[in-house]
């Protein structure tokens, strides 16, 4: 499983990396970035689901759930 950010939608609102710093970081323009390749374990699935809801642009998704 991976978390991914759709850059067609991400506008750098920063909710993902503010709330879930284990899963996301920020780039120098304030846009979200997944940490590493975005891979998550079962224990991080709840957080990832919360991140999907937190992003006001619906830019965060979970692949391979």
């Amino acid at each position: 499983m991976r978390v991914v950010i759709d850059y067609e939608r991400c506008t750098g609102n920063g909710r993902c990396y503010a709330l879930f710093p284990d899963l996301f970081g920020d780039d120098e323009s304030g846009y979200g970035q997944v940490i590493g390749d975005g891979s998550i374990g079962d224990d991080q699935l709840d957080e990832a689901r919360s991140a999907v809801v937190a992003c006001p642009e619906d830019a965060v998704a979970i692949e391979g759930e």
């Binding site: 609102n13 920063g14 006001p56 642009e57």
Partner: protein, 399 residues
């Protein structure tokens, strides 16, 4: 064939009972439907789905016409009044100047400025949060970012408020005081553009002037952009700060929890931003016929995207009309959405955080002055309180 045709309603935004209670105000707005036409012809989009649809289709919902038409300002407000594809070039440059990392680097300075403003009244036992803090601080932050002297603060506050007061009172011809304010403000900005071109500093203005070749901005672009910051980034923060402090003053239990557990501050800020959005609506003009949530809107129509109602969509939040820290991790629309989403959101959030943190260090216990009822100005382009007098015990603050 595009969705169903509908007739205008009797709805007027000015009729929404917003002053005393935004819950009543926004309910009034949504009660007309998720997409409907107001009496003045403007199409209102009130549901989260409708608002998101519009902000994600900037080629259909144009900002250029909508924004420049209403402002009475002869230069383009960059980047808010720019449509794609040109918009992108401006945001690429500006985003990195207001990113969280930049704000982090400024934090100590901004914190000291907040503390100084609060210290000025901390031993008086009373203050007006709006007049003594929320009107002044955002302007200082602007001056700091743009490399202009803090001594000019009150002058700038005066010009900007005169202009905004005029733009919200409607279509009446600008009086001499408005013309004077606009001339003063433009002249002021131009003076610094000239000055920074000669002697660049380490500030936003100098960095914009340093762009070269095809990327370089004209004087008109510089002026339009600087001017936009004064109308987008000052009274919005003033509004948000007033509502946040009002909520904390009226809810001593929450305030005490917050002082005991600082991690609650982020959620409290997000929730007050959601429930009390300083910019309740944003404007667009349709470039073509379009269907939104099954309703047809013709080309060339003025459209108002109602962020306040989208933020309280039933079903999205357990307590849509209440500030509830348990639901603060759901995205809201207070900063807009899509390509024009607020450039200053990271800075605005930080300003709010620093002010509350420093306020509570010096003044942990406070309440609204007895007998005062803090109401918001309405109708208004920016929802804000005109005054928020607080009283507090002196001497037990201990910095």
């Amino acid at each position: 064939m595009l969705g169903k045709m509908t007739a205008p309603t009797k709805f007027q935004l000015a009729d929404a009972p917003m002053s005393a209670d935004r819950t009543a105000g926004f309910r009034f707005v949504s009660s007309f439907g998720e997409v409907f036409q107001a009496a003045n012809g403007t199409w209102m989009l009130t549901s989260a789905e409708a608002v998101k649809f519009a902000v994600r289709h900037p080629e259909v919902f144009s900002s250029a016409e909508a924004t420049n038409a209403g402002s009475g300002i002869p230069i383009p407000l960059i980047p808010v009044a720019v449509d794609p594809p040109a918009h992108r070039k401006y945001r690429l440059v500006l985003d990195s100047m207001f990113a969280p990392r930049v704000v982090n680097a400024m934090e100590d300075d901004l914190r000291t400025q907040a503390r100084d403003l609060i210290a000025a009244f901390a031993n008086k036992g009373e203050c007006d949060v709006v007049g003594d803090l929320a009107r002044l601080y955002p302007t200082q932050v602007f001056l700091t970012f743009f490399g202009m002297p803090l001594d000019d603060r009150d002058q700038l506050v005066g010009w900007v408020e005169t202009m905004l007061d005029h733009s919200t009172t409607g279509t009446a011809e600008a009086g001499p005081e408005v013309v004077e304010a606009a001339t003063g403000l433009f002249g002021y900005i131009q003076r610094f553009i000239d000055e920074k071109r000669e002697r660049p500093g380490d500030d936003v203005l100098s960095r914009l002037l340093a762009l070269e070749g095809d990327d370089a901005w004209s004087d008109e672009e510089m002026l339009g952009c600087c001017f936009l910051f004064t109308v987008a980034g000052l009274d919005t923060v003033t509004g948000a700060m007033g509502f946040l402090m009002r909520h904390l003053a009226l809810n001593p239990e929450l305030r005490r929890q917050l002082i005991a557990d600082p991690t609650l501050l982020g959620p409290v800020i997000e929730e007050t931003l959601r429930v009390e959005p300083p910019a309740p609506t944003i404007s667009r003009t349709t470039t073509q016929d379009v269907e939104v949530c099954g309703v047809r809107i013709p080309a060339g129509s003025p459209v108002a995207l109602c962020l306040g109602t989208a933020n309280r969509e039933p079903g999205h939040w357990e307590h849509p009309d209440d500030v509830d820290v348990a639901q603060a991790d759901r995205g809201h629309m207070t900063f807009g959405g899509g390509i024009h989403r607020c450039l200053g959101s990271h800075l605005a959030r930080r300003e709010l955080r620093l002010v509350v943190e420093e306020f509570h260090k010096l003044i942990p216990e406070y309440e609204v002055a007895p007998g005062f009822d803090p109401v918001a100005v309405w109708p208004a382009g920016t929802l804000h309180l005109t005054s928020l007098p607080l009283v507090f015990p002196v001497g037990d603050g201990g910095a």
